[in-house]
Symmetry: C2
Subunit: 553 residues, 2 copies
């Protein structure tokens, strides 16, 4: 009986700090940081399993995600990160099988989604922040451990009789590597598909020269030379970085959050839960005064710089919603305050994009918005007088499945675009939300961006920027009915529908991982051959062998 779930784990916080890490050690040596996995067996989120052999659960990954975030903001002087392990002859055994076996379907799916986002955040840091990752595999590297290595820029494997990389999920557990492994093997590392097929069915994995030949790792080094080889390669990777030569970074301090059973109140974000209706209302508030406008002042403001503060709070709210509130199906999204102050903040972000901190802030906003896109909840933007849906905050309306804008007779209701809608905040498909919205009609994107000043409701509707613009007479009923009728639909069909409608156009490694690989994994995670009484995941580690129903589907 699967018992590990948000219900049994209890409300989860995604905030942590290196001083509180139990599973990772972060060490610094000039431009090189070393992130070492040293999982404490007894410090899992649930007492139902022990995290042996550097296997991990969501708690371990929350620390990893925190470390990567802090490296970006707090340590601009770090130019390369070595990811390794402090356990002898073991890098990482992957996601803990007993945790997976004991988890509800929803918990498994949320766990995989978060770990996928963490791996993608590493690739994002490498692609956009000059922060390279070197996986230094000092021992056995299996399943999710190898998937972590795959998210690094390069993989160095110790060459001994013991250390292999492997994806044993299919042969041992009857499931898929759920954290991008298959996609990264063929699409990122370009391992030949037939070799990937062999690799993906070989429980013991591949080691030494063969791992290099197949493209599964970049190099091997004997144990005697391993440390030197890692250091040399890390230095080479660091030398390519465009990050500042010296610190200081900014401190990411704890979020200002007052949390109650049905309300999260941050400084600029609030999330109100209506359990009876299964609806949450998410409000993001504009700055109340102009944001700092020079790099020095922005660095001095640090985590209180409004764009960073607002999106850190939003990110936290979305994560908590996902894991702690599975029954909330619809999120009504509002932006409140003075839109001109949002646009002023956008001007600052655009003017200083090349400054390391502003660059980090913009990419953080981008990643947070991607989390919204990838959340299995319906989002409806509701746009009323007093709204701050402008520029970056209008991305929230564009990320929503629909938007309702009151056709206010007093002419006070408006939305506005900025340069932040024109490129810096792409979705996982590589397109801006405007280009996604007007897929196949780039002239509509250009027209909307060329529009000077605010759009009133009629203009917004004509430009295609909002879904509906009811007048005052219809407003209350129309919005209420839309939210109510959404809540009545099958949550699974909605998840599938949204996952297909949100990501039009090109597919990328990211969209393949979330759209294709995760969808197949979710399917398999429900199949009796994996999770039934005699399924492979159920039988793992017991005396019983899995028994399959062999019909191919």
């Amino acid at each position: 009986m699967a018992t590990i779930a948000s219900r049994t784990i209890g409300p989860l916080s995604f905030e942590t700090h290196p001083q509180r890490y139990r599973h990772w050690k972060l060490a610094f040596d000039g431009p090189i940081a070393t992130l070492s996995m040293d999982v404490q067996e007894d410090a899992g989120l649930s007492p139902d399993y022990k995290l042996k052999l550097n296997s991990y659960d969501l708690g371990v990954d929350i620390e990893l995600a925190d470390a990567i975030q802090r490296l970006r903001f707090e340590h601009p002087e770090v130019h390369a990160v070595v990811v390794t392990s402090l356990k002898e002859r073991i890098f990482c055994a992957g996601a803990n099988i007993f945790m997976l076996r004991g988890s509800t379907h929803a918990w498994k799916v949320n766990f995989c989604k978060f770990t996928n986002e963490t791996r993608l955040a590493m690739e994002d840091a490498s692609a956009h922040s000059g922060l390279a990752f070197l996986a230094a595999l000092n021992g056995i590297c299996a399943g999710g451990g190898y998937e972590l290595a795959l998210a690094c820029d390069e993989i160095l494997l110790v060459d001994d009789s013991n250390s292999a990389v492997s994806l044993p999920e299919t042969p041992l557990l009857g499931v898929l590597p759920g954290t991008g492994g298959l996609t990264r093997v063929v699409d990122k590392r370009k391992v030949r598909r037939d070799l990937a097929d062999v690799f993906g069915t070989l429980a013991e994995g591949v080691k030494g020269k063969r791992a290099v030949e197949w493209g599964l790792v970049d190099a091997v080094a004997p144990a005697s030379r391993f440390k030197d080889a890692v250091a040399a390669r890390a230095a080479e990777l660091a030398a390519k970085s465009d990050r500042p030569a010296t610190g200081l970074g900014i401190a990411l301090k704890p979020l200002a959050l007052e949390a109650s059973a049905d309300h999260l109140e941050y400084s600029t974000v609030s999330l109100a839960i209506d359990r009876a209706k299964r609806v949450a209302t998410l409000v993001v508030r504009a700055p109340i005064e102009p944001v700092e406008s020079t790099p020095d002042a922005i660095v001095a403001a640090g985590d209180q710089f409004w764009p960073l503060r607002a999106f850190r709070e939003l990110d936290d709210a979305i994560l908590r919603l996902r894991v702690n509130e599975p029954e909330i199906g619809t999120v009504v999204v509002k932006a409140e305050g003075d839109p001109t102050l949002v646009l002023q903040a956008d001007d600052v972000l655009l003017a200083h994009q090349s400054h390391w901190l502003v660059r980090e802030v913009v990419h953080f906003i981008k990643r947070t918005l991607k989390r919204v896109d990838l959340s299995a909840r319906s989002f409806f933007a509701v746009i009323e007088p007093g709204n701050a849906f402008a520029g970056t905050l209008f991305e929230l309306a564009l990320a929503a499945d629909r938007s309702y804008m009151l056709d206010d007779p007093d002419g006070r209701n408006a939305i506005q675009l900025s340069g932040m809608n024109a490129g810096p905040l792409p979705m996982s498909n590589g397109l801006t939300r405007l280009a996604t919205r007007f897929y196949g009609a780039p002239e509509k994107v250009a027209e909307a961006l060329a529009h000077d000043g605010p759009f009133d409701p009629r203009q917004a509707l004509d430009a295609g920027l909002v879904t509906f613009a009811p007048d005052e007479i219809d407003w209350d009923d129309e919005v209420r009915l839309a939210v109510e009728s959404r809540a009545a639909l099958s949550p699974d069909a909605l998840t599938g529908m949204e996952a297909n409608l949100r990501f039009v156009g090109p597919e990328t490694l990211e969209t393949k991982i979330f759209g294709r690989l995760s969808a197949w994994q979710n399917w398999i995670f429900q199949r009796p051959n994996a999770v039934g009484p005699k399924g492979a995941l159920t039988s793992y580690g017991s005396a019983d062998r899995a028994e399959f129903e062999f019909g191919r589907t």
Copy 2:
């Protein structure tokens, strides 16, 4: 209790003929053919349901697929096809719900896969054969009915108070439109994602002017002018075709098949089933004499022209294997005979690609190979002396998940490429199988294609064209063990793994439909919210309302 399955339906044949159609009428008027749906309620594959309101099951779709195939081969003088219905005020109600509800998971999945392939075959005919499709929606067009329309080049909807297009799967049945609907709405017709979201949750659908404005249909016409509007538009579409101005086509006669319980024997293909091992052996034989080499001779040979005959037989064998033999997990693929005769056939296909019939043959080979790629079975190519894995037949080895080539000491074992491996037979991802194999390394594709003459086993291995080349001592054990160990793995994990490894690189409408949409649909098809005792699919048409478990996943 779901009882509709290959077991209860019995071995299915995919062969039919217009004279035997029960659900479609095919009529000709010069360059315009009209394909009219007129489903016979009582002629479903199972007595468990009645095919009311032009709803369909797999039997209906087998006739549609046959009609499209025959239009391509038998009627080159047809330049446009009107797809309509003979039922008053109803175009098509989509897949039969009672059939879906009563079907096993595997049957539902196979049904959706085949209908998807049929819709894609229509788009293939339009893109590559100058055969345009006009959906003439003379009435209600719901679910799979609208998905059929979406596969047409244009959609004309009658404008009355009754006729709407709709995708009611999510609101009514708690599942997704399973035949490409969501993908085609946003990716092909480029309906805005928020409007698509509204449309996808509106059971009653969208009609009239709004359907045009949202991009759901191309035009509407009042009932009084509908026939004329259809005729005028069909004539315009036909005028653009590059097909021959007059017939005659070739006749697709019944396949030469001797079928027994565990063996299908065609003229050039055989499929031997080993149920105990859950393995099938598929053999395709080279021509036994040079194929006809002039267009006139090819037309005269008709369906006996070896490339067409061999791939029609292969197509039929794959379809029967999929539906009738769900327990067969692994297919050992062999090609036998004289490879020089395969290469001679390839020369003919390449030399006459612009001839209408040769063009049809090449696209048919392409579609058949795509069916292999999309089959949820493991394919292992086994290459031994006497093999005919050359050119087009080598595509079968490239389509396989792995290949084993005997390193024959007598030097008799060889493979060879041809121009047919260089472009005419792309996969669903738009790449050739060679480009897919060497994704990210186009120089390896070029090198392999530049190689003159046959590859011996060492050369094939060095060029990356085969997976393994064991010597005689290891051969039997290695192949036997590979096949045996494959058969022991979870069939679901293998399906997911193969679906992720086979389609590297770019994604297309096709790969999105099979990789993303189908994977989500398969997930939903298993969820209690759809198929549990109180699920929406279970409750449909009964007095009970669906009851959902509202946790979002």
